[in-house]
């Protein structure tokens, strides 16, 4: 069904593209908000990506590849939004959107705060590979396709981003343990 919609949209059918956008939009938003850590920027990125997808749709040769192709465009839109944010609001701390947290007993409030800070310290390119790998569960080659990287670079970037996050978590754990020992 999606392939048919892509083909119709490639013929200039805006209605078909609107349907496609609504099928793909939620997942795009979920990706973008996790990369950008800001709901407004994420919505702007998704909107820009969908408009670009429309204008470039005829460059897509295999309709079955629509979603990864769209995600590649979305990745670039996220990079652009991140650059825009840096230009206009350098140093501004953007808090997570209300209600963004889901119920998860494993993550404490402190965990979330720690991870949020650690995640923001990563580059937007590092966040993108983490999101595609951990959130969508994609393989390295699939992550590479969505980020426009060679497989080896995607693997390396994922490794470094994961290591940086782990280091933050472990440093925090050591700090917490030290504080408790001092208190005892």
């Amino acid at each position: 069904m999606q392939d048919g919609l892509v083909q119709q949209a490639q013929q200039g059918d805006a209605e078909a593209f609107d349907t496609l956008a609504r099928l793909a939009g939620d997942r795009c938003l979920a990706i973008a908000v996790r990369i950008l850590r800001d709901i407004d920027l994420a919505e702007d990125a998704v909107q820009a990506a969908l408009i670009t997808a429309w204008t470039e749709l005829r460059t897509l040769r295999d309709p079955s590849r629509f979603e990864p192709w769209l995600h590649r465009i979305l990745t670039n839109a996220c990079y652009a939004e991140a650059r825009r944010r840096r230009r206009w609001s350098e140093g501004l701390r953007i808090l997570p959107a209300p209600g963004a947290y889901g119920p998860d007993e494993y993550l404490t409030v402190d965990d979330r705060d720690l991870l949020e800070r650690a995640f923001r310290r990563l580059t937007v390119e590092q966040r993108a590979v983490l999101v595609y790998h951990h959130y969508l569960g994609l393989s390295i080659s699939e992550v590479a396709a969505r980020t426009g990287l060679p497989d080896g670079t995607a693997k390396s970037r994922l490794h470094h981003a994961s290591r940086a996050l782990r280091a933050s978590i472990e440093a925090d754990a050591r700090s917490t343990a030290g504080s408790q020992e001092r208190l005892a």
Partner: protein, 233 residues
């Protein structure tokens, strides 16, 4: 009593949280925006997300099912009379309708390629063929129409037969030429036909000949293509 925390699970669970629903106004804004935006017609694998996988194969056929860009070292801005590109005997004789087209050689992704346009024209109505011999195969188009927008013009028609991978007969194809020194040409392969569409409507309405995409066409190495003389600017 601290339980060891699994960093990978923390990262995973952290990323599982967050918004997952795009607001309706965004869809509405997208819809309003695309209604006013034409789609780019260029077909090019260089924008495909799995381009990395094509690299080991030298881009080869996949690169050729795109716009192939060519230009001319021999011809300056094309004149309506076809000066410079057509054989002298043909340009001085008064055949009716006059022959148009020609032969051009170019490189596409490092491989030599040739396009031969053999046609006659009566205004914007064209009959003949355009045969492109590429590394991936041969693509033959039965020409039906031509349009011009400024310094860019195009032959359009139906793909008659093709051995280029992923292309098929029956779809629209076009040879797009950007005049200048050198002349530049893009070959657009196999655009699916809308029911009831005709060549003039497709070529004139869907192809953004005045768009900047034509600037990316690389140059011809030899030969030139001559436009129909009576194309409206």
């Amino acid at each position: 009593m601290n339980t060891p925390r699994d960093p990978d699970r923390l990262i995973h669970d952290f990323l599982m949280e967050g918004a997952t629903e795009l607001a309706d106004p965004v869809y509405d804004d997208v819809r309003a925006s695309i209604e006013q935006r034409p789609q780019r017609v260029v077909i090019g694998p260089w924008r495909m997300p799995d381009m990395n996988k094509l690299v080991p194969f030298g881009l080869g056929a996949a690169a050729l099912v795109a716009v192939l860009a060519i230009g001319s070292q021999l011809l300056g801005p094309a004149a309506p009379s076809g000066v410079g590109g057509a054989p002298p005997a043909e340009s001085t004789a008064p055949p009716s309708p006059p022959p148009v087209g020609g032969t051009v050689q170019f490189h596409s992704d490092g491989a030599p390629a040739t396009t031969v346009v053999t046609a006659v024209a009566d205004g914007a109505s064209v009959s003949g063929t355009a045969v492109s011999t590429l590394i991936g195969g041969t693509h033959t188009v039965r020409l039906e129409c031509a349009v011009r927008a400024g310094d860019t013009w195009a032959f359009g028609g139906t793909t008659e037969q093709t051995t280029v991978p992923d292309e098929r007969a029956g779809a629209w194809s076009a040879v797009v030429v950007k005049d200048g020194s050198p002349q530049q040409i893009g070959i657009v392969l196999s655009i699916e036909k809308l029911a009831g569409s005709d060549c003039d409507t497709w070529l004139g309405g869907s192809m953004d000949l005045a768009g900047s995409w034509t600037e990316d066409f690389p140059p011809v190495e030899s030969g030139a293509l001559v436009p129909p003389p009576d194309l409206a600017p």
